[in-house]
Point group: C2
Chain length 393, copies 2
């Protein structure tokens, strides 16, 4: 005989969009605006080498033993300091080290979501958050947005009429849209959230990739009720290969996430945690952020200028103040999905917009990454993409 | 307001037994037979230092970028060779690198288990497997055992009358009992399994920790239908801190596990994967196993001799041919749970037997780890434990 039926969550599962993308981006002649990859040139390789050499010189068996699920204490202490610099005063007991901030999404859904439970998401939102939440058979409510982000009165209306467990927002330099919720709007949203039994997940992997002098306070810094979880990551600001991120949560919620993580993988690689802890401890991050933000700002500006120069009328795009992505909209009626095979044929890739909507619509948008391609390829890729679009208009 | 209700799976969740244990074992004056920790002295620290230094010398941005979910290709190639040495011929497409073999348990449950789906387990079985499967609201059927392991006729009877999705076995040097399913019995069990639509998980983190010349072929090596999954780990034979294990599965099942892993943590730390890959590539493992198996055999022998010398009549224990654990049974009517506070008070710890039963009964057993304590503490701890038992008899 053979294999029994897969679980319902797996039957519902998408076509492995992320994996397919990661594979696509590894074709050497492809200009990929698809992945969410930081630039390899942005990684502080020499500093990391020095740190690894120093850690290795002192390596002993005790270090390589099993560790506690919550994470390596010196790293959690550094994360406490990092959060203080974001206006958030916490203790180490509110820090869980995760395998990238992605793991926080899995763990928080595991802690709260039963089949059919509702999560409010932005529209569009991060596709791998939808994927993680779908694994727990969550249902989604797309929150109406305006230029400043989710509309507080609309959020209030949804929370008053629907039983919602989680609200998932990427307030700063959002993936996929590149949009940011305004500072004033953050306060208004927090006022609404305080009225209900609901948890806000503030996912913030891009907040430090900032190409503006504007200040956006974290929503966690406005949290007076323990309802806000903050998810951070070192993947975009140091390097993703170590798989180190963190969740900040009040102690009762954190203890549920710890239980979930125990049964999943026990803890994050100790060696990875030591490298990141030492990088933070040496105070290297602020200067490194200045360096990479200057690089990324240049790429963003180049992409915006290329779009301006080459895109036909009727195509619009966002002007992100930070992060890795911009969001491009084709004229209504056009489909980025229909365009993709020809684009890939011409060696340029992007992610179709519908992947980022809980409901899978509309189809006329695409997410474009500006951090990973070389400057030469940004120009070349946008010219190619503009040609592909014009030919379908 | 505040926090909404946790999910049903979390309401059902245990009291964080593993986390509590890990914390207990970190008290410096405690003789802990509780954790499942390999000995720190068993880790090949000097070889690992050399490998890390060599990897670091060649480190570049490309290496530290996001990788593919399936795992670092050179590591998967080494795992293919390792499996060949266990009689299992596979291709790299059947290998998924996981964050310890523990993660395989989470991913396979995610792939197959809906609320109420049934899993056959040994009785007793690995407590963190129960914990991982409970997160997906599985129900358990305890398989009747005799001295050679699960009884084939009983397995056949269960599979004929119940709709079972997964069978979870640790055939070799089992955690917690130290028992091994005999070679003949493995064949008989495979014949039963082939008659049904069911997947067998062969969890084998201890198979290489072998203090006997007897040969136990892996059940995966007898798999002709793709129904057997094999889970392996480098935690016990190299070092746990890197969090590197693997799942071997036929391609369709593996692709479901990959989907589950994508939404959870994307991939295992690349640096950890490179270290383990290079360790295997340099051919260091066979000799290292000889060294640590000699150390562990000595500890096992010492613990068996200490038990023989100090335990009162009526107490029995297993004589494991490998692995890290033995299983001690108190006379019927005594409870290891009631004994534990006094044992901990006397600075010796173990894990109560009921944690390893899906149904939580009986209460008169305990799991004792012989790998982690020093030889001096093995003797001291067993003398203390024997006194604690005698005083309650």
């Amino acid at each position: 005989m053979g294999i029994p039926a897969y679980s319902v969550r797996m039957a519902k599962e998408s076509d492995g969009a992320i994996s397919a993308l990661l594979k696509l981006t590894q074709q050497p002649d492809m200009i990929s605006f698809g992945g969410g990859l930081p630039s390899e040139e942005s990684f502080p390789v020499e500093d990391l080498k020095n740190i690894i050499n120093d850690i290795t010189a002192d390596l002993n068996g005790g270090v390589l033993q099993y560790g506690v699920t919550e994470g390596y204490l010196p790293l959690r202490e550094e994360i406490v300091k990092l959060m203080a610099s974001k206006g958030v005063q916490i203790s180490v007991d509110e820090v869980l080290v995760t395998a990238g901030s992605q793991q926080g999404l899995d763990l928080i859904a595991k802690a709260f979501i039963d089949k059919g439970d509702k999560i409010i998401v932005e529209s569009p939102t991060y596709l791998a958050a939808l994927q993680a939440f779908r694994m727990y058979e969550a249902e989604f409510i797309e929150a109406p947005l305006d230029e400043d982000g989710v509309i507080p009165a609309e959020l209030d209306r949804i929370l008053a009429t629907e039983k919602v467990k989680l609200i998932y927002l990427i307030p700063t330099f959002q993936n996929p849209s590149g949009r940011t919720i305004s500072a004033e709007r953050r306060k208004e949203l927090m006022e609404v959230i305080r009225k209900y039994d609901v948890v806000l997940i503030e996912d913030d992997p891009y907040g430090d990739l900032k190409y503006t002098d504007d200040i956006y306070p974290t929503m966690k810094s406005m949290d007076t009720t323990g309802q806000v979880l903050y998810f951070g990551s070192f993947s975009k600001i140091i390097a993703p290969g170590f798989r180190v991120g963190y969740s900040i949560a009040s102690a009762p919620i954190l203890s549920k996430m710890v239980e979930g993580k125990q049964s999943c993988d026990l803890h994050v690689s100790i060696f990875s945690q030591m490298v990141i802890a030492e990088y933070l401890k040496r105070g290297l991050l602020p200067e490194h952020l200045q360096v990479i933000n200057a690089q990324y700002k240049e790429k963003r500006d180049l992409m915006l200028a290329s779009l301006e120069e080459h895109m036909p009328d009727g195509v619009t795009w966002t002007h992100p103040e930070g992060g890795l992505f911009l969001w491009l909209e084709l004229p209504a009626g056009m489909s980025s999905n229909e365009l993709l095979p020809e684009a890939v044929n011409q060696k340029v890739a992007y992610v179709c917009g519908d992947s980022f909507y809980a409901a899978g619509e509309p189809k006329n948008a695409m997410r474009i990454n500006f951090s990973n391609a070389t400057k030469e390829n940004i120009v070349k890729g946008i010219i190619t993409l503009a040609e592909v679009i014009k030919n379908k208009m």
